[in-house]
Symmetry: C2
C-alpha cells in the first residue's frame, strides 16, 4: 500500500494477478480477524492456500506492518521450539479522513478496530492555497496524536482519504490503464505522510459516511442530499459509492425545477440550487419582507412561528420532495438522508419534503423509502474519507456496518482555536 | 448449480465459506479459460491453492460437467504414464434467456463461448396462464436445438435467465437469509429443465442486454429507457444491473412531468407514461386531428412529413429529454439507450430528446453523455436474461464485453409461425 506508485486517485480495478493476490491477502487477514492469533500451520489448514503462497503472502503482510508475529509463552508439551503465532497488528490500520471544504477543513481518524480516535475542524479563508491547507491539516492531525493509549500514532497510519470540492474523475472505462493525474493535495499529503492518499468529491464522501456510520447506517441503497451554500449529494448503490461514468453524479442541485427560472452558477437556469441553497432561501425570505442574515437567524424566525419563513420553507420543501420522488422512481433507495445547514430548520422544511415525496413517488414505493435527517454533521465528509480508505485497502477492508456515531462524544468535540 | 436448493430468485450474497469456495472455482476456471488444457500440476503451480483444496475443487467441477479430463496422446519423454490434462467442457455452459412479455415471449440461447446459438419469438393471448407460456417456451427452445454442430443441446444447459413484467423484489438487506418465494414460472421451468432459473424484471434485463451486447456494449454506467405500451427502463451501474432497495428501480415512466396532469395506471398523475407511452402518443395524435391506429401508421405519417405528427413528437421528445437530463445529473451515465416501439419514429422524436437533454443537463456533462437508439430489438430482454445467468454463475462468469450483436444474422432471424 505504500509508495507513490500506489498513490491512487480513485479505485482502480486491478489486473487479474494483483486481484488474485489481494484476494489471498484478504483471506488471510479475514481469518486472523475472526480467529485471533493463529500459527502458520493453522492458517494453512484454514485458508486452502499452498505453503509457498501462504508464506509469501504472510511475509508481505508482516513487512507492511499489518500482521505481527508473537512467540507463544507455553510451548506445546513434548516439543522443543515454541510455536510462533501471527496476529493482526493492533497499531496498524489507522486511517485519516480529511474534508477540504471551500472555507475550512475537517479531520477524523480511526484505528484498526474502526473506533474514532478523534476529530477536529478549523475554518480558513477561501483563497488559502493548497500548501496552507495541508499545513493546517497536518496541525489538526497532530492535535489528535500522542494523548493516551487510543491516540493516533502516525507510525501506524495506513492511508488518508480526502474529500475535495467539485467533480473528481475516474477512468472512463475500467479497462483504462491510465490513472488520472493526481490532485495537488494528494501529492502534498503523500509527501508529508508517506501513505496512499485516496480522493473523491467531498459531498459524495459525506453520502458514504452517512450510509456507513450515520443516518443510513447499514443501508445498501442510499440517497444523500445536502442543502448548504450549494445543493448536491451522493448515491450509495449496493453498498458502494456511486461515482458515475465521468465523475459527475449526485448533482441533484442542478436538476431543473423551474424551466426558464433564475440563472445558476452551473450555467443552467432554474436549477434546484437556485431555489434551495442557503443564499436562495435567504434571498427569497428577505424579498418577501423577512429579516435574516444567516441560517441561525432563519431558524430563530421559524421557531418563533414567523409565517413568511414557514410559507417559504413549505414551498422549498415541496420542490425538493418532487425532485426526490423522481429520483426514487429511478433509483429506488431505501433511505434518503437530508443534510447541510438548511436541514437544521427541521420539520417546517422536512415535512413538506416528505409530503411532496409521498405525492409524487410511485404509490407502490410510498411506504418503503424512509426520509431521515443527517446525523454526522460537518464530520460526514471526513468520515466518508475514512470509509473510502476502508473500502479500498485490503488491510482495512470489511469494516463493520458500524455503530451509529450520532451520539459519539468525540465526534461532537470539534476544535476551533 | 443444480437442484431446487440452488434455484434462486435473485443474486444472494453467499456466506463467507461458499464465497471462498466460489472464488477458488472461479480461479481454476479462469486459468483453464486463459491457458487452455493444463495438467493438475500446472494448475497447482498457477493457482496457489494447496493440493487438497485444488483436487477437491476439481472433483466438483468435473462432477458438475464444467471441466473434462483428457489424456495427452504423447506422453512426456522418459515417463511411463501419459499426463492427464483438464480443460473446460466445450459442451457445457449453454444458457437460455426467456422474456415473458404480456402478449408474447422471446427466447435466446448462447453456448460457453457466448455465441448466440439461436433466438425465436411468438405472440400469445394476454390471458395465457403460466403453464401455457412455459409450454410455448419449451417448444421455442426445442426449435433451437438439434440442427448442426453449434446447435443448443439441452444436456449442456447450465441455467435459464427469465424476464417477467412488473417489480421483482430482492432481499431488503444483503444479510437477509430468506430468499423471496420463487415465482411460479421459476418452479415450472425448473421442473422441465432441471437447472437453476434466475429471474428479474424484463425491462431491467433489456437494459443489461443493451449494456453488454447492444447499443451501449461495454458501457459501465448505462441508462436504458423503453417507450412502449408502458414507459420504463433500467440502470446498469458500474457494470452491474441495479435493482434498487426494494426491486423498484428504472421506473422512469412514473416520474411526474405534468403536476396535476392525466391519471396514470400507477395511481399517480402526470407521469411521463401519460405523455410518452404508445397509447398516450396515439391518443394525442388523434385528438389533434391525426389518423393512426398503431405505431407503424404513426411512423408512416411522420415519414410523409405530417406536421401534426412532427409537432407532437417534438413536444413528447422535449419532455423525455427533460427527465433524462435530471437523471443524468443524478446518476452520470456514459450512454443513454432509447428502445421500445416508439424509438422507431427516429429523429423526429430523438432530436428533440437530445436538444432538451443538452439544455437541461449540467453544462459540464453536455458533451459527455451519448444518446443512442437500442439495437437488440425485441430480443433485448431474453439476451439480458442470458447476461443475468452469465453474471451469477461461476461456471459462466467473465463473459466478454462482447461483440455488437446489432448486425447478428441469427438475432434478426426470429420465428413467428
Amino acid at each position: 500500500m505504500r509508495g507513490v506508485g500506489r498513490l491512487c486517485v480513485m479505485s482502480q480495478p486491478p489486473g487479474p494477478l494483483s486481484q488474485l493476490r489481494r484476494g489471498h491477502e484478504e483471506l488471510v487477514l479475514g481469518l486472523l480477524r475472526k480467529h485471533g492469533p493463529l500459527s502458520r500451520g493453522e492458517l494453512g489448514k484454514r485458508c486452502g492456500l499452498s505453503r509457498t503462497t501462504l508464506y509469501d503472502i504472510l511475509a508481505d503482510l508482516v513487512a507492511a506492518g499489518a500482521v505481527v508475529t508473537a512467540t507463544q509463552q507455553e510451548a506445546p508439551r513434548g516439543r522443543g521450539r515454541p510455536a510462533e503465532t501471527l496476529t493482526l497488528n493492533p497499531d496498524a490500520g489507522q486511517a485519516i479522513g480529511i474534508d477540504f471544504t471551500r472555507r475550512g477543513l475537517h479531520v477524523a481518524a480511526v484505528n484498526l478496530a474502526h473506533e474514532i480516535v478523534g476529530s477536529a475542524s478549523e475554518p480558513h479563508a477561501a483563497d488559502l492555497p493548497w500548501e496552507g491547507r495541508v499545513e493546517l491539516a497536518e496541525r489538526l492531525i497532530g492535535s489528535l496524536t500522542g494523548t493516551g493509549s487510543g491516540a493516533l500514532r502516525l507510525g501506524a497510519l495506513s492511508a488518508i482519504g480526502v474529500g475535495v470540492v467539485g467533480p473528481v474523475e475516474g477512468p472512463e472505462q475500467p479497462e483504462d490503464d491510465e490513472d488520472p493525474p493526481p490532485h495537488p493535495v494528494q501529492l502534498l499529503l503523500h509527501e508529508r505522510f508517506g501513505v496512499p492518499v485516496l480522493l473523491d468529491n467531498n459531498t459524495r464522501l459525506a453520502a458514504l459516511g452517512e450510509a456507513i456510520w450515520g443516518a443510513a447506517a447499514g443501508g445498501q441503497d442510499v440517497l444523500y442530499l445536502r442543502l448548504s451554500h450549494g445543493v448536491g449529494g451522493g448515491l450509495v448503490v449496493g453498498g458502494s459509492l456511486h461515482r458515475g461514468a465521468y465523475g459527475l453524479s449526485g448533482e441533484f442541485g442542478h436538476i431543473t425545477v423551474e424551466p426558464g427560472g433564475a440563472r445558476c452558477g452551473c450555467g443552467g437556469t432554474g436549477c434546484l440550487e437556485t431555489v434551495a441553497s442557503i443564499r436562495a432561501v435567504l434571498d427569497a425570505y428577505r424579498a418577501a419582507g423577512g429579516r435574516a442574515d444567516d441560517v441561525p437567524e432563519l431558524i430563530k424566525a421559524v421557531q418563533s412561528g414567523d409565517e413568511t419563513a414557514l410559507w417559504l420553507l413549505d414551498g422549498v420543501g415541496a420542490r425538493i420532495g418532487e425532485v426526490l420522488a423522481a429520483l426514487c422512481n429511478a433509483i429506488g433507495p431505501s433511505v434518503i438522508v437530508i443534510g447541510g445547514e438548511l436541514a437544521a430548520t427541521g420539520a417546517p422544511l422536512l415535512d413538506p419534503v416528505e409530503r411532496a415525496l409521498a405525492e409524487h413517488v410511485m404509490p407502490v414505493s410510498r411506504h418503503r423509502v424512509r426520509l431521515r435527517r443527517a446525523t454526522l454533521g460537518e464530520a460526514a465528509g471526513a468520515l466518508g474519507g475514512i470509509a473510502l480508505v476502508l473500502h479500498e485497502s485490503p488491510l482495512l477492508a470489511r469494516y463493520p456496518a458500524g455503530p451509529d456515531l450520532a451520539e459519539d462524544p468525540i465526534l461532537n468535540q470539534t476544535r476551533t482555536p
